[in-house]
Amino acid sequence: MSVTGETKPTKIAQVRAFVVDLWYVLIRPSSVFGLGVLVLAGFVAGVIFWGGFNTALEITNTEKFCTGCHEMKDNVFAELKSTIHFSNRSGVRASCPDCHVPHNWTDKIARKMQASKEVWGHLFGTIDTRDKFRDHRKELALHEWARFKANDSLECRNCHSAQSMDITKQSPRASVAHQRFLFTGEKTCIDCHKGIAHQLPDMRGVPGC
């Protein structure tokens, strides 16, 4: 009894003492290293940390990473394969992050933080069967549509620019529709182009569909 009673407080006290020591080391100026060494070491450590952070971020921004989970591989990625964003005449294709992760840094970090919910969903098996995925498909689609609507279909426009769009080379229907709705700003890409890369959920109650 007495042994356990003594060791428990000592361990906590040890940790406490270490933290206090560390704090005093951190708040006092260095008496061993020169300022130049500290600055240089800090700079190098910063480069390594920042590089490592961005490399890790880029690894999570690849199709290989996305399709590492069977939820993505067997549902959304399988559906993408038959669409024009995967297979087409020119061989240029979009991968998952091209459409689902904003390209500029702040928005990307914000999206990555949101995506932590997807990790949660994977760990707790929210959509780990096809049936569960189907049940959640509308909710998931509504999130993505809302995001595209809010940022004026930014991820579409990263490749498809209205300025570079030659309407004389489009089919008459597309040409008329783009002139009426896209160029006037009345609608954004996602308003009409839903379900172009993945299958549509139950569309009852979705405006314009």
């Binding site: 669409t83 024009i84 089919s171 008459p172 229907r173 008329v176 529709a177 549509l200 569309m203």
Partner: protein, 135 residues
């Protein structure tokens, strides 16, 4: 047993006719000049016609043909991509022709508020056109 010249002439005529018929049936038609026991080269695939022009029907009851590409259009119990332009409530914006009012009728002739389930699968009757020239 000498055959009469008349029979000989008939036989020759028959032989000539049948060979020409045979030659014709082998070298014409959809399969082309490829012999029957071989597989010929596949015909070039043609792109879908992609215009906005209405096409004249060949007979009054013909389901109107689709003058544009419908590649990737989803038609299943979740949604119907055709109806996002051709539905009654959508034509003002899309300027597309509205689906015929007969499509609101069930099989007993009763009009429903929306497209009848038996008319939901558009491509069962309406088909897009390829730019192929008939041979």
């Amino acid at each position: 047993m000498i055959a009469s010249p008349r029979i000989l002439v008939l036989a020759a005529l028959f032989a000539a006719l049948s060979t020409s018929l045979l030659a014709q049936s082998v070298s014409t038609g959809l399969r082309g000049p490829t012999p029957l026991d071989q597989e010929g080269p596949a015909a070039q695939m043609t792109p879908l016609k992609n215009t906005a022009e209405k096409e004249v029907r060949n007979y009054p009851e013909q389901p109107a043909v689709i003058p544009h590409s419908t590649e990737g259009y989803q038609i299943d119990m979740n949604g119907n991509k055709c109806l996002s332009c051709h539905a009654r409530a959508r034509i003002a914006e899309s300027l597309a022709p509205m689906i015929s009012i007969t499509h609101f009728m069930d099989r007993d002739g009763q009009f429903l508020a929306t497209v009848s389930p038996r008319r939901f699968y558009c491509t069962g009757c309406h088909v897009p056109q390829h730019t192929a020239t008939p041979r």
